[in-house]
């Protein structure tokens, strides 16, 4: 682990093959090795990284039970010494399916975030195939705690706020965001995402690690552009658009403490304001 309390964060901006667990596990293992060579402490993969996104009726065929799946045991073993965040279709103890991100440390699943807000509009159909998550949690890492929110969860600002108020200094956001092209040189949805991640980092005085995927599914592209935002909203590092990339950057969670001393938004939060009507 990096000395001085800083974390080396790796954002694995990968392509996933739709519905092909074996191939995707192999790709994850390759990226874990690459991250190990780069001394990464926390390695993040995009939303549904083990399965691909637009599964529709393939969803139940690629579901994994976190405590029993041999694929996850292999990833956990390969990532020993790192904190790993991977995306999958999770089959829970009742057989219900969730769009989840697992946090794995020292060979064990230490946290599961089940996506709370499942977009079901336009191109998105998640409520048809997944059940909603209803619980938030935080995970200790060097220098503080992190929380995981998946993609659409970040569009509902109260979730990140609650995590920050509970002590999160880093919000990790695995995402899959279908790209759009307009007059500007950057994919339009990537611009929108940076507005959102930077606002989240500013309003909650925390780091944000946004890990997005690349590649194509069913004629729709994913633009990449994964990035890290400092507490306060400055983009610290950004991966290229439209290509696979492992983005590695130092994240000192104590930077959030220093900003919070100068800008005590969280301490000043009030819960006694009433209205409107």
């Amino acid at each position: 682990m990096t000395t001085g309390g800083a974390l080396r964060v790796g954002l694995a901006q990968v392509d996933s093959r739709l519905g092909d667990l074996d191939e995707n596990v192999a790709r994850h293992l390759a990226r874990i090795e690459e991250a190990r060579a780069a001394d990464v402490d926390l390695l993040v993969f995009p939303e549904l990284s083990l399965t691909g996104y637009r599964l529709l009726h393939l969803t139940p065929r690629v579901a994994l039970a976190p405590q029993r799946a041999p694929q996850l045991a292999r990833l956990a073993q390969a990532a020993a010494g790192m904190t790993l965040v991977v995306g999958l279709v999770e089959k829970d103890e009742n057989g219900t399916l969730h769009n989840s991100a697992l946090v794995i440390q020292e060979g064990a699943v230490v946290h599961i975030h089940r996506k709370v807000y499942l977009p079901t509009y336009g191109i998105f159909q998640e409520e048809r195939f997944f059940a909603r998550g209803r619980r938030l949690g935080l995970v200790p890492v060097a220098g503080g705690k992190l929380g995981v929110l998946i993609c659409e969860d970040l569009w509902h600002a109260e979730l990140a706020r609650r995590m920050a108020l509970a002590g999160a200094k880093l919000i990790v956001v695995p995402s899959v965001s279908p790209g759009r092209v307009g007059p500007g040189p950057v994919p339009e949805n990537s611009d929108t995402w940076e507005v959102l991640t930077r606002s989240t980092a500013l309003l909650n005085t925390c780091w944000v690690a946004y890990c997005s995927r690349v590649g194509w599914e069913e004629g729709s592209f994913y633009p990449g552009g994964s990035h890290l935002v400092r507490p306060g909203g400055e983009v610290a590092a950004r991966a290229p658009y439209l290509e696979e990339h492992l983005l590695v950057a130092e994240v000192d969670l104590r930077e959030a403490d220093r900003l919070r001393f100068r800008l005590p938004l969280l301490d000043d939060e009030r819960t006694d304001v009433v209205g409107p009507a």
Partner: protein, 276 residues
């Protein structure tokens, strides 16, 4: 948003659009384990842009161009098709579809020019799919979003393909990207024509000019305005009404497999399995 501002909304960043569309072609072709693409070169801007994107995506040696004239096709169409193939460095073969089309109508009896045109379009697509099989390639589609939404196409003719990089581009976006890629102005700047009979132009067939059609479709389909709201923004009521009717009447061309559902697991209704 007033008329005049709408065209600016349809502008695309050239390099990003080309990067995305070439990525689409590479992913579809290589993902299918295919050798490349075949494309019919009409000498018009749509097929020229599709071929140019494919040549960039795959390398010109994996793009197979075909000129497929009927005896009434203009010499200019073939010249422009060759010119584009040469500029892109892609090979270009020619098959005359006149004997096949004429043999059919000799048996079936004389037909109006729309039926003749449809037969030519289907004959061309039949050839392209056969050549694709022979060459181990996929058929590259060249229909743009304006044509698809207005239904200005022949079912199982020009609207058939294995993959289509232009299907989410309005006509003026096709022109814009064609110019960005430096396609010859003689091709990009000429009046669009299906060249199914002498003197035919798209805009006369449709009763609409493309800039109006693109902008009205954008406001109706992408932005979600009502026809009355589009007219309020300065577009002629007659043109808006015609576009609304064409779009409604031709929806069937965009969803070609209509399957009667008996089970609880009908293809594409109960069971949506991605093709990727």
């Amino acid at each position: 948003m007033r008329r005049g501002e709408v065209a600016a909304r349809l502008a695309l960043d050239g390099p990003l659009s080309v990067a995305v569309l070439t990525g689409f072609i590479r992913d579809a072709v290589d993902g299918a384990g295919s050798g490349g693409v075949v494309v019919g070169l009409s000498g018009g801007v749509d097929s020229s842009l599709a071929a140019a994107l494919a040549a960039r995506a795959l390398g010109p040696e994996r793009v197979h161009g075909f000129l497929l004239p009927y005896r009434t096709s203009t010499a200019e169409s073939a010249e422009h098709g060759r010119l584009v193939a040469q500029a892109l460095g892609v090979c270009c073969k020619s098959f005359d579809v006149s004997p096949m089309v004429d043999a059919y109508f000799a048996q079936a009896g004389a037909a109006d020019r729309v039926r003749m045109g449809n037969k030519m379009a289907r004959e061309r697509m039949a050839i392209l799919f056969d050549q694709a099989k022979a060459l181990g390639c996929l058929v590259l589609g060249t229909s743009n979003k304006t044509e698809i939404l207005l239904g200005y196409s022949t079912v199982f003719g020009d609207n058939a393909s294995s993959l289509n990089p232009l299907g989410d581009l309005y006509k003026q976006q096709v022109w814009q990207l064609a110019r960005h890629l430096g396609l010859p102005e003689s091709v990009v700047g000429k009046p669009p024509s299906a060249d199914l009979w002498p003197g035919q132009t798209d805009e006369e067939d449709l009763g609409l000019d493309y800039p109006t059609a693109d902008e009205v479709l954008y406001l109706l389909y992408d932005v979600g305005l009502t026809p009355a709201e589009v007219v309020e923004r300065g577009y002629p009521a007659g043109a808006v009404e015609r576009i609304v009717q064409l779009e409604r009447r031709n929806r069937f061309k965009r969803r070609l497999m209509l399957i009667a559902r008996l089970s609880g697991s009908a293809i594409n209704l109960d069971q949506e399995i991605p093709r990727d």
